[in-house]
């Protein structure tokens, strides 16, 4: 003997509830299979429900006149063994959820569906998933673009994988996707890859050549009181910069050399130039003369103004100087460059420097201005720092850190004197620049700053 509950079924009209019109049996009655047990109202017509079991009625769960939700127990029977119906599970419910919170149809607008069990209630919650969301189906692994692999096919054959927005960005920044390494899944080129290739890495250890744009203030309130930590997302320029630095630092073997020079004469020249009419309204800073000296030194040691093209296994020596100046901007460190700086007169170079600095400070440096630099100066002296080991801007062979100009005791003409002294640090790509070249270049540069007359071209 077993107790069987009969749940109110959806009588095929999208019912979510029904009203009991009258019971045709009472508790304790013995009923046969299919004997009519109750009349319910559906769509304004009475429907008799036949008994699904043969047995004894134990419970009428609702009184006549009450409204019952589909899926709730209507009537229970005590059923003997061996009854066909008793071997079945409780009559299956049609459609919808069993939860009483299933949407109720208005009693006056029962949905009549002639041809099936009617509309079902939808899900209201998500089913729990296993583990992390499945990764999108991975395509067969695609080798990184051939630009990274030797021997390299011609660029025309390289098929780059990149999302359409990334392609547009590359085009806007003037980046050739085929020579950009792809750090995305399956070797795809990402937005960060493109931005890194475009901006180049500013000197890692260097600070700006300009008045520093305000750093994010670390307000106490920014720290999570629970962990006492603040999490800053790695994205945007910072991310691109970091990526470029990493690429540079771990690709080119960096060697750094220092020289400390007496630049009193150079400083005097700067002060003097400020009074000349050609420089009226222009800023004449020590950095201007360092830049000029560097350009002249490059002329005499052109190999220092080159890049290592791994794809084609060539060192590309450039006959132009696009001089990069590391700059701090509201969004981070960038290295805009002055195109063809070697073709500018000193006043033009001064103007260009000034414009570059102002633009960078306003955060308006154009992408094109950050591309195709050939050599870089980072002015750490602005912060009162002497020297460092700057990291090369990717695609370049040398970077000069220009330290603070200090008054220091110095041996001058055989006696101790107070002189203006500075340290110049030169990092270079040792694959291209050997120790001799680096040293000679640096000495040459320092010599011009020590004795500015050496910057005059006596051959012309």
């Amino acid at each position: 003997m077993a107790i069987k509950d009969f749940l109110l079924p959806d009588l095929g009209e999208g019912l979510t509830e029904a009203e009991i019109l009258q019971w045709l049996v009472a508790e304790g009655d013995t009923v046969t299979l299919n004997q009519p047990i109750v009349e319910v109202e559906t769509a304004k017509a009475a429907v008799e429900i036949p008994s699904p079991y043969a047995g004894v009625v134990t419970t009428l769960h609702h009184a006549a006149g009450s409204t019952v939700d589909v899926g709730l127990p209507l009537i229970s029977f005590e059923v003997g063994g061996g009854d066909v119906a008793a071997t079945a599970e409780a009559p299956a419910i049609q459609g919808g959820d069993l939860v009483p919170s299933a949407p109720k149809a208005d009693a006056d607008e029962k949905i009549q569906v002639l041809v099936g069990s009617g509309p079902k209630a939808g899900k209201l919650t998500r089913r729990p998933r296993k583990g992390p969301a499945p990764a999108p189906p991975a395509a067969a692994p695609i080798p990184a673009p051939a630009a990274q692999v030797a021997p390299a096919p011609s660029l025309a054959q390289v098929h780059v994988l990149a999302k359409p927005p990334v392609r547009k960005l590359a085009r806007d920044l003037g980046v050739d996707l085929r020579v950009v390494g792809g750090s995305g899944p399956n070797g795809t080129v990402t937005r960060a890859d493109v931005q890194a290739a475009a901006s180049g890495a500013p000197a890692a250890g260097g600070a700006a050549a300009v008045a520093v744009a305000p750093r994010p203030d670390f307000d106490r309130a920014d720290f999570d009181p629970a962990t006492r930590e603040q999490r800053i997302p790695i994205k945007g320029v910072r991310k691109a910069t970091a990526s470029a630095m990493v690429q540079s630092a771990f690709t080119a073997p960096h060697v750094t050399e220092w020289v400390t020079a007496d630049v009193t004469e150079m400083m005097a020249l700067a002060r003097r130039l400020r009074t000349y009419p050609q420089f009226a309204g222009l800023k004449v800073s020590p950095l201007l003369l360092v830049a000029r000296a560097l350009i002249l030194a490059v002329r005499r040691h052109p190999l220092i103004n080159s890049s290592w093209d791994d794809a084609s296994q060539e060192i590309v020596v450039k006959d132009y100087v696009h001089l990069g100046i590391a700059a701090a901007t509201p969004r981070g460190l960038i290295v805009p460059n002055i195109k063809d700086a070697d073709g500018l007169s000193l006043p033009q170079l001064a103007a260009a420097l000034e414009a570059l600095v102002a633009t960078a400070r306003d955060g308006k440096t154009a992408p094109a201005d950050m591309q195709r630099g050939t050599i870089t100066i980072t002015n750490v002296g602005v912060f009162g720092v002497d020297a460092g080991t700057p990291i090369l801007n990717p695609g370049e062979a040398a970077i000069l850190a220009f330290g603070a100009v200090r008054e220091q005791p110095w041996v001058h003409v055989g006696q101790i004197a107070i002189r203006e002294v500075t340290t110049l640090s030169l990092s270079f790509d040792h694959r291209i620049v050997d120790g001799q070249l680096g040293s000679e270049f640096l000495a040459d540069l320092a010599g011009m700053l020590n004795d500015p007359w050496k910057m005059v071209d006596f051959t012309a």
Binding site: H159, L161, A162, K163, P164, R167, N186, T188
Partner: protein
């Protein structure tokens, strides 16, 4: 080896089908004594008899509905719907019965029915004779859909279609019925469900089928004069589609343009564009463009040259794609 028109190639293919299997029947309006309004069934009633090449009453639904019964009885009916625009009276039988019977019977009933439909425009016809209704059928689960573009494919694909145990809608590009080429009737045919690279190229991919294949080949030839190498993929099978061939081509060129006569809105071209975008996203240099008919009923014949995608419209789309 013979030089055959596309129409004649179909005729020869149907002849072979009738020879190879005595259960093959051909039925349709005017297919018997007349040999079909395009002569595609020319001579077949004479050689195989009226009981096998049946002139039917003028009732498209009847053609397809009785074909269902014949198929249940064990025959292999090849139905002809005389023109694309007249398939609609039969649409109910095709979609609710032909397409569903195998599923409805849990695989017990096979309907190896071929439904041949001449389609497409460019023949200067009156209303209802230039339609491209292939999307309705490709959209219907339970049907397969193919289309030939040249005499070689016509000859082999019609035979393969008749031999297929599933119901297949076989679209015939009526404007190409008179195109000629050599057909090697001894060669091994390509698979029925394979797409074909009709022309290799590197700069862009034209994905097309049926009457537009020749248009695209002509466009590609013109582009080559301008130094552009365009790849043309002839889908051949519209449902199911040979996606592998399509994707390989798009990944190679980075530009996909779909060309078909059918109105672009809610067309097969739209499905191809969506699927290519999904699967070739990282290779795309431009969005997938679609060149096809406008959202109008097929226009009067003196306007059809401006309506149908032609060489200039195709190359314009290629230009726009490459300029992205």
């Amino acid at each position: 080896m013979a030089t055959l028109t596309l129409g004649k190639a179909l005729n020869e293919g149907l002849r072979k089908a009738l020879e190879n299997d005595p259960k093959v029947l051909i039925m349709g309006e005017d297919v018997g004594a007349l040999g079909g309004v395009f002569r595609v069934t020319d001579g077949l009633a004479k050689d195989f008899g009226e009981d096998r090449v049946i002139d039917t009453p003028l009732a498209e639904s009847g053609i397809i509905g009785t074909a269902v019964g014949l198929a249940i009885r064990g025959f292999r009916p090849v139905c002809e719907i005389q023109f694309d625009g007249f398939v609609f009276p039969a649409f109910d039988q095709i979609v609710t019965q032909v397409a569903h019977m195998h599923y409805r019977s849990s695989g017990n009933v096979r309907l190896p029915i071929t439904i041949r439909i001449p389609y497409g425009g460019g023949i200067g016809a009156v209303e209802h004779h230039s339609e491209s209704p292939e999307a309705y059928f490709a959209h219907t689960a339970g049907l397969k859909v193919v289309t030939c573009a040249n005499p070689v494919d016509a000859y082999w694909m019609i035979q393969q279609t008749v031999a297929c145990d599933d119901p297949v809608v076989f679209f015939e590009p009526k404007r190409r019925y008179w195109d000629k080429s050599e057909v090697d009737t001894d060669a091994a045919p390509a698979g029925l469900w394979s797409a074909r690279v009709a022309r290799a190229g590197t700069d862009a991919t034209l994905i097309t089928y049926g009457p537009s294949v020749r248009t695209c080949l002509e466009a590609a030839a013109a582009a080559a004069e301008e130094g552009r190498e365009i790849e043309v993929v002839d889908l051949r099978a519209l449902s199911p589609v040979d996606w592998d061939t399509v994707f390989a081509s798009v990944r190679k060129t980075g530009h996909a343009i779909v060309v078909a006569e059918a109105p672009v809105f809610v067309s097969l071209a739209a499905e191809i564009a969506a699927r290519v975008t999904e699967h070739c996203f990282y290779s795309l240099e431009s969005p997938v463009l679609r060149v096809g008919g406008f959202s109008i009923p097929y226009p009067a014949s003196r306007l059809e040259e401006d309506y149908l995608p032609d060489l200039d419209r195709v190359l314009d789309a290629v230009d726009r794609a490459i300029a992205f």
